[in-house]
């Protein structure tokens, strides 16, 4: 009995070994009709989504820096308006790159450097009044990036004429202009570093197939889930008081001073949705949706992909039902905000648990063994 089982075992393993040798010898890597074209998805996402997004963000940051220089050279109402517009364009474009905190962006810790909010007014003020500061310190994370510029460009006064005074007649005007220049220069430098980094990293990203930990798909999905939770918690949940016994924090919204929080949240979820769908200006390419379909992923007997797409639509609809400024909406119509949060919450489960589990992706923001 034991012998025959043993013989069977050897035979089976030999068969597998022979099979694998045959396959590897005769077929190219593209010949996988039954399996998902993982590398094709990575190529689509990097070529048509990630690179264009970073390129636009870098361009926006260059324009922003130029607008700061122009404004600082002679601050007037026209240049302030132009600068505010350039800032809003940059902040909107940021929503499309926030997800990609791996590779070059991870090295540059782009996300916290560019978008840590709520910004610290007191830290900004003390930096400006002292005139000496090191923006790379941990303490200054909440005194720089887009949220700090949001405050400096929209929050210094009730209207533009009073804001303008802070850059002209105010005692600290010179220091403030210098600070503004430092901030926009840092964002531009970071955006440029990451964009340049992608020119070489793209090949690495495209080549790393599979969904094992460390693979590009795993990195992408882990960051997509992480970034989505930032959207859910910090753009909506925390300000709406969901996590604080109903005590609301309207000032903690993203882009509090420029009052475009809802607009940004919508752009953010749309960016994540496009990554999921593999959708870009080049059309609807291979995305995580196709991957799930290929893996035949189910949710309550139905297609998981359909469920996820419907939930994206439901969450998006709820966000679109809100109006800026979100900080006011939280006070006047809290039910609408928490309703949006609830729909966002449902999508969290689908992305974080169902999608990852169906694709064999581990949610590991850290590192550990299994058995």
């Amino acid at each position: 009995m034991r012998k025959s089982i043993y013989v069977a075992l050897i035979a089976a393993s030999t068969l597998i070994a022979v099979q694998s040798c045959k396959k590897s010898g005769s077929s190219s890597s593209t010949d996988n009709s039954s399996s998902f074209d993982n590398k094709g998805m990575l190529r689509n996402i990097s070529t048509n989504i990630i690179l264009p997004a970073y390129t636009s963000f870098q361009t926006a940051s260059v324009n922003l820096d130029a607008a700061v220089s122009a404004f600082n050279a002679s601050p007037d109402n026209t240049r302030l308006l132009a600068l505010q517009t350039a800032f809003q364009a940059t902040y909107k474009q940021w929503q499309a790159v926030s997800v990609f905190e791996f590779g070059p962006a991870e090295t540059a810790t782009l996300r916290v450097n560019v978008n840590t909010y709520p910004t610290s007014v007191s830290q900004i003020s003390s930096n400006i009044s002292s005139g000496t500061y090191d923006l790379s310190t941990f303490a200054n994370l909440s005194a720089k990036g887009l949220p700090a510029m949001d405050y400096l460009l929209f929050g210094l006064g009730a209207d533009n004429s009073s804001i303008l005074l802070m850059y002209t007649s105010d005692a600290a005007a010179a220091n403030r202009k210098a600070y503004l220049a430092k901030l926009s220069a840092e964002i531009k430098a970071a955006a440029t570093t990451v964009l340049t980094g992608w020119s070489t990293y793209k090949a690495t990203f495209d080549a790393s197939a599979g969904t094992a930990t460390g693979s590009s798909t795993s990195l992408l999905i882990n960051q997509l889930v992480y970034d989505y939770e930032i959207l859910k918690n910090y753009e909506v949940g925390v300000p709406a008081g969901v996590q604080s016994m109903g005590t609301t924090f309207p000032t903690k919204v993203q882009a509090y001073y420029s009052k475009m929080s809802v607009q940004l949240a919508i752009l953010h979820i749309q960016a994540i949705q496009n990554i999921y769908l593999g959708k870009s200006t080049q059309g609807d390419g291979l995305g995580l949706d196709d991957y799930l379909v290929k893996a035949n992923a189910k949710k309550d007997g139905a297609s998981l992909n359909t469920t996820i797409q419907n939930q994206f639509a439901a969450a998006l609809a709820k966000l679109q039902g809100l109006t800026d400024p979100l900080s006011d909406q939280i006070k006047t119509n809290p039910a609408a905000v928490t309703a949006a949060y609830t729909e966002l919450q449902k999508l969290t489960v689908l992305l974080k648990t169902d999608m990852t589990s169906s694709l064999g992706v581990l949610i590991t923001f850290g590192d550990n063994d299994g058995d």
Binding site: R2, K3, I5, Y6, A8, L9, I10, A12, S13, I16, Q19, S20, C21, K23, S24, D31, N32, S34, S35, F36, N38, A209, G210, T211, A212, T213, S215, G237, Q243, S244, M245, G246, A295, A297, K298, K299, D300, G301, Q345, T348, V349, L350, K352, T353, D354, T356, S357, S358, G360, V361, L362, I363, T364, F365, G366, D367, N368, D369, G370, D371
Partner: protein, 447 residues
């Protein structure tokens, strides 16, 4: 009784001592280098202790690093056979202590290490080819009773057998779960990558894995199949090491299963080592003394072993005492050699409500748990309960007298899709941890 009292050459025991010591040394150093002391035992603010072991606490950075230094030294001493009994006892205690701190890091192979180290305390593995013998040649022993070697074979046999039995279920054999999810994850591997996304390969791996686990122990025991069986051990474990993130486990098994080989093989291993070490170590060629235990000592050891193996044989079946699906409830799941059986994931949202004001809060889990802890907690009811109790304590400190803590956890198991895991209306503050079935776990439905 030949398997117990026959006098056997000590060589297999000595090789096991060295193999175990070396692999533990490597494991421990690797653990330290990965920064896991900090990540698992210093950084977390809260630890999920085992039921009944709530008193086990980590010692702070200095203490934990000192402890791991001690583990490393103990592993070295075990390997070379210096102060062996003290070293292996120390290793067992320190290692087990670390494992008891937090069930987040529970792995079957950590449990296996504790069990092996425990058994090794009971045997004279240092009485031959060891520094202890060089220090004190009078303890040198050539012949030992068979039980000192056979207990390890029995333990390994049980590990593989139970791992095999646990694979005899619908998901593993008929649905090829979870391998049909896990194998395609490695489709980037050279040579076999493309093959791994084929369904029949998942079935082949599932069935071969089950057959391997069920029979490998017996094939290793049988002298006529031993060599090819050991080759299978090496292939099987190297393949799993290559495909899955299972750390040191495959190498540990490859090392310790050497115990199954004959005395002759072990003597050859020792003689090779002797040649290499000749320059540094000079053990005198004396005939050695027979290994004698006083009757009372022997009886104590026998009693311990009988108790140990009875527990080993019964523990994996304790799940039968619980209603519901084992993989879903995980009641009676641990300490049963259930390895790599589930693709289970979850997301848990906790709510704390003040019944006096009616106000409630969703908890940002990251404020209390590491991502790793949060992940493990979301799918394990006992951890959900522990975390709920932590939240209740925290909110009591904030002035809410009777916080109502509820958990809304969505869990997916082997690709069924996420669904509500536990009753989200139950106030977990009032639920106590016991060995009883947790009634607030929602029943499992495949559809």
């Amino acid at each position: 009784m030949t398997e117990i009292n026959t006098s056997k050459h000590i060589a297999p025991l000595v090789v096991l001592r060295m193999a175990f010591g070396v692999i533990m040394l490597i494991s421990t150093v690797r653990f330290v280098l990965r920064g896991w002391i900090d990540a698992f035992y210093i950084h977390p603010k809260f630890h999920f202790t085992f039921y009944g072991f709530g008193w086990v606490k980590p010692m702070g950075a200095t203490g934990m690093y000192a402890l791991f230094s001690l583990l490393i030294i103990a592993a070295i001493f075990v390997t070379i056979g210096l102060f062996y009994r003290t070293a292996i006892l120390l290793f067992f205690l320190c290692f087990t202590y670390v494992e008891l701190i937090d069930k987040t890091t529970y792995l079957n192979h950590y449990y296996f290490i504790s069990v092996m180290a425990f058994l090794m305390i009971l045997v004279p593995a240092n009485r031959y080819f060891s520094v202890d013998v060089i220090r004190n040649p009078r303890i040198k022993t050539i012949r030992v009773p068979a039980w000192t070697i056979n207990i390890f074979k029995l333990q390994l046999l049980l590990v593989y057998l139970f791992a095999g039995i646990s694979k005899l279920n619908y998901d593993w054999l008929i649905a090829a779960m979870p391998l049909r999810i896990w194998l395609p994850a490695n489709s980037n591997l050279p040579v076999i990558g493309g093959l791994l996304s084929k369904l029949w390969v998942a079935y082949a791996f599932s069935w071969c894995g089950a057959v391997f686990d069920l029979f490998i122990g017996f094939l290793l025991l049988n002298p006529s199949t031993r060599k090819p069986a050991y080759l299978m051990v090496i292939i099987f474990h190297l393949v799993t090491a290559w495909l899955f993130r299972i750390g040191m486990f495959p190498y540990i098994m490859i090392f310790v299963t050497i115990i199954f080989f004959s005395t002759q093989t072990h003597l050859k291993i020792i003689s090779v080592l002797r040649k290499i070490l000749r320059a540094v170590a000079g053990e005198r060629e004396t005939p050695g003394i027979p290994y004698r235990l006083s009757v009372s000592k022997r009886n104590v050891i026998y009693a311990i072993l009988i108790l140990h193996f009875t527990i080993q044989a019964l523990l994996p079946f304790r799940y039968l005492l619980y209603p519901g699906s084992l993989y879903w409830t995980e009641e009676g799941y641990r300490f049963s050699w259930r390895v790599m059986l589930m693709e289970k994931g979850g997301t848990a949202f906790f709510h704390v409500k003040d019944p006096e004001t009616g106000l409630q809060s969703e908890i940002i889990n990251a404020q209390y748990l590491t991502p790793f802890q949060e992940n493990m907690m979301a799918t394990q009811p006992d951890m959900i309960l522990q975390y709920a109790h932590l939240l209740a304590r925290e909110y009591q400190k904030k002035g809410i007298k009777h916080p109502v803590v509820t958990a809304e956890s969505y869990v997916t198991l082997n690709g069924i899709g996420s669904r509500l895991y536990i009753d989200s209306t139950v106030n977990l503050t009032n639920e106590k941890e016991t060995f009883d079935h947790k009634k607030w776990i929602l029943p499992f439905h495949r559809k």
